[in-house]
């Protein structure tokens, strides 16, 4: 199975971007089970919407933005359910794992910082590109990055 009926080669797109989408989703969901659902939903939406991509970068940006939006919405549901189930006990979600000091510090950041940290440090995007991708003002992204760095610096030491 390669291309679907409208011409999008889902298998190839999955191959190209699944890791990025997975990590973006993980930044929000913090556990593998919910990340898996969010990744699937991101690609389901791709299949349903059949967007036209001008470049591979456009394709990747669409997936990152869609994954972020899906996770934000899912979290609102998930938090309520989790609270009801756990009665606010501090029980880690299934699949939550200890990834060491650095990832723990990143995961403890507010949600909106984590994606920016990932896209900037790991994917190597410039803040202007991240702003375009997440449809946020450039200054907002610059300040999210600045604040996230300050918090990480406080927790981990100098990032440079």
């Amino acid at each position: 199975m390669a291309a679907d009926q409208q011409g999008l080669d889902i298998a190839a797109i999955y191959e190209r971007h699944s890791k990025t989408v997975y990590r973006v989703c993980f930044a929000f969901m913090k556990n593998h089970a919910d990340t898996e659902d969010a990744v699937q939903e991101t690609f389901f939406r791709l299949i349903r919407k059949q967007p036209t991509f001008e470049t591979p970068e456009h394709e990747k940006a669409w997936l990152i933005r869609t994954a972020s939006n899906i996770c934000k919405n899912e979290l609102k549901h998930w938090r309520r359910k989790q609270t009801a189930l756990d009665d606010q006990a501090d029980i880690p979600a299934p699949g939550a794992t200890d990834y060491g000091e650095i990832m723990d510090a990143i995961m403890a950041l507010p949600e909106r910082y984590k994606t920016v940290i990932y896209l900037y440090y790991y994917e190597g995007y410039q803040t202007a590109e991240i702003a375009k991708m997440l449809k946020k003002p450039h200054s907002t992204i610059r300040n999210h990055l600045r604040e996230a760095r300050l918090i990480l610096k406080e927790r981990l030491g100098d990032l440079t």
Partner: protein, 245 residues
């Protein structure tokens, strides 16, 4: 070299082989289930489609009330208004140095006086003057954004000046909106409340299954009442260098 360590830390975030296959299979199977050919509408189907769309639009409006009224524990009625929910991007633009530090429990309690202890949080301060700028935390399942007056309090939602309630003499804006259904047909209700008191902007947001929206609205309204029942925080006491213990 912390930057390299950040990259390495992210490298470890991958599904295991079994999960990877499960995700891929689900996606490819979903792609296969989609109809193989686009259906061309026949002439006689067009009026029927228009009628159905009109019917659906009426149904949508009936099931998308523009107001959500709830009664709080103190007997007060609060109306969450969907008409005042306006989306937009706020602009963060510091042209001065900032610093962050974790707020103490006492400082958090002063900013957010309520029975449920807020999560710990880092606040942003203006480095030169030590003034509090903003902070973000959670009280139970409610996201809370705090900002000094004049700064954008959130990235996205701009609630404007349209306060639609008054609690203990403080004008409060209550709003809500419903997201589009996800692939399982579930819509999320997002409810928020915001107010300005003594130079501190407070924006509270919660969300959950549409079916629970009344309970969400009641819980959020009760929390706002609890916060406003206490004295306003004295922002001049919450500074970068003076830690309240």
């Amino acid at each position: 070299m912390k930057q390299m360590q950040i990259v390495q830390a992210w490298d470890s975030i991958l599904p295991d082989a079994v999960a990877e296959k499960r995700i891929q299979d689900a996606i490819l199977s979903y792609a296969d289930q989609k109809p193989k050919h686009a259906i061309r509408p026949r002439r006689f189907l067009i009026p029927a489609a228009v009628f159905l769309m009109l019917f659906a639009a009426i149904g949508f409006r009936l099931h998308n009330p523009k107001k959500l009224a709830v009664t709080l524990d103190n007997g007060m009625n609060v109306v969450y208004d969907a008409n005042i929910a306006t989306a937009g991007n706020a602009m963060y633009a510091y042209d001065y140095e900032i610093q962050t530090r974790e707020l103490t429990a006492e400082e958090l309690q002063q900013l957010l006086p309520c029975s449920v202890q807020p999560d710990s949080c880092h606040a942003v301060f203006r480095a030169e003057t030590g003034e509090f700028e903003r902070a973000e935390t959670k009280i139970g399942e409610v996201h809370v954004h705090l900002a000094r007056e004049g700064l954008p309090v959130t990235d996205d939602i701009v609630t404007g000046e349209t306060a639609n309630a008054e609690i203990y003499g403080v004008p409060v804006t209550f709003g809500f909106f419903l997201t589009k259904p996800n692939s399982r047909g579930i819509r999320t209700a997002v409810l928020y409340a915001s107010y300005l008191r003594e130079g501190l902007q407070v924006y509270l947001e919660t969300g959950g299954d549409e079916a629970n929206q009344e309970q969400l609205g009641t819980d959020l309204g009760n929390l706002v009442c609890e916060l406003l029942a206490h004295d306003a925080p004295n922002l001049s006491e919450i500074r970068l260098s003076s830690i309240i213990q």
